[in-house]
């Protein structure tokens, strides 16, 4: 069993209206030191398979296929091996 933590964000040149809106809100709350906000998605996905290279292939495949839109988003991920007892 593996836990994949997947982070999805827009490509840098794409407008991120959510990030901009949160930044403005933080400024209004007087956190002036905040200079940049990116708002993305975060997935924690458990996969019942103990072969790390299989799991990597799977995570990369379904992230490309479903979790992100390759035209505008990028993702990175980490794998954590879980004891199968979990």
């Amino acid at each position: 069993m593996y836990l994949a933590k997947i982070y999805v964000t827009y490509k840098p040149s794409i407008l991120d209206p959510k990030g901009e809106t949160v930044k403005d809100a933080l400024h209004r709350l007087d956190y002036q030191a905040v200079s940049d906000v990116v708002m993305g998605k975060y997935f924690e996905i458990k996969i019942a398979n103990d072969n790390e290279s299989d799991v990597r292939k799977m995570v990369e495949a379904f992230s490309q296929q479903l979790l992100i839109n390759v035209n505008m988003e990028v993702f990175r991920y980490e794998l954590i091996a879980l004891s199968t007892a979990v």
Binding site: P17, K18, T21, V22, A25, R28, L29, M39
Partner: protein
């Protein structure tokens, strides 16, 4: 009688509420969320829409608008404060109402007309209804009311649940569609009574909602006079 309809950046049902209120003997004013004083108004409405795009969480950013301090003051004075749809979401985010509104159980915006049951027919928001089941429009993507078991039993014990769904469209805990605070002066609901006050729009089940509020306010003024 004077009503404030608060317009947050991104509110889009503010004029719908304004026009609905004009049908009663009440003078509505659209008040921008940058205003800091609401003492002139007898009743305050927070309309539907997408304040700040609902980009972070529904109602999350709006709760820090300048007007919110004035809203707290109005609440302390026991004034009626009513949030519809996004207004409900803002009131829960601001802690003026219990619970939270979450993504619909089947994610996606739904716009339809839905049947409601009036659970508490003695509140300031429901007393004029002559029937126990009504139909009102809904239009939301995040109307799934969540509250933990302990607070739910308090809601029930205090008769704070005013409306429930007959056919739960969004997965709300205990089918809850509209609730008040403990004192009974702050109310929020996801359905849109302001969309159901004219025969030409094929639904008048929202009329008694406004009549209830007017009756309540009139009784209050008479009580003060007496």
């Amino acid at each position: 009688m004077k009503a404030a309809v608060i317009s947050f950046p991104g509110s889009n049902c503010d004029y719908d509420m304004y026009y609905a209120l004009k049908n009663w003997q009440i003078t509505p004013t659209i008040v921008p969320a940058s205003v800091t004083d609401l003492t002139a108004y007898d009743v305050i409405f927070l309309p539907g829409g997408f304040s700040y795009g609902d980009y972070l969480r529904t109602g999350a950013i709006a709760q820090f608008s300048p007007i919110m301090q004035a809203l707290q003051t109005a609440n302390a004075a026991g004034k009626l404060i009513i949030g519809i749809c996004n207004g409900f979401q803002i009131l829960t985010e601001a802690g003026l109402l219990p619970g939270t509104l979450q993504t619909n159980q089947n994610p996606g915006f739904i716009c339809t007309t839905t049947a409601l049951h009036i659970v508490n027919s003695t509140s300031a928001f429901s007393s004029a209804y002559q029937k126990t089941d009504i139909n009102l429009p809904i239009a939301h993507g995040e109307g799934n009311y969540y509250i933990d078991d302990e607070q739910l039993s308090q809601l029930k014990a205090n008769n704070q649940i005013i409306f429930t769904y007959n056919d739960n469209p969004n997965g709300s805990v205990a089918n809850i569609a509209g609730v008040t605070n403990v004192a009974g002066n702050v109310f929020g609901m996801m359905p849109h009574p302001e969309r159901a006050v004219e025969t030409i729009l094929n639904n008048t089940d929202g009329q008694a909602f406004f009549t209830s509020i007017i009756n309540f306010l009139n009784q209050k003024t008479e009580a003060v006079k007496a």
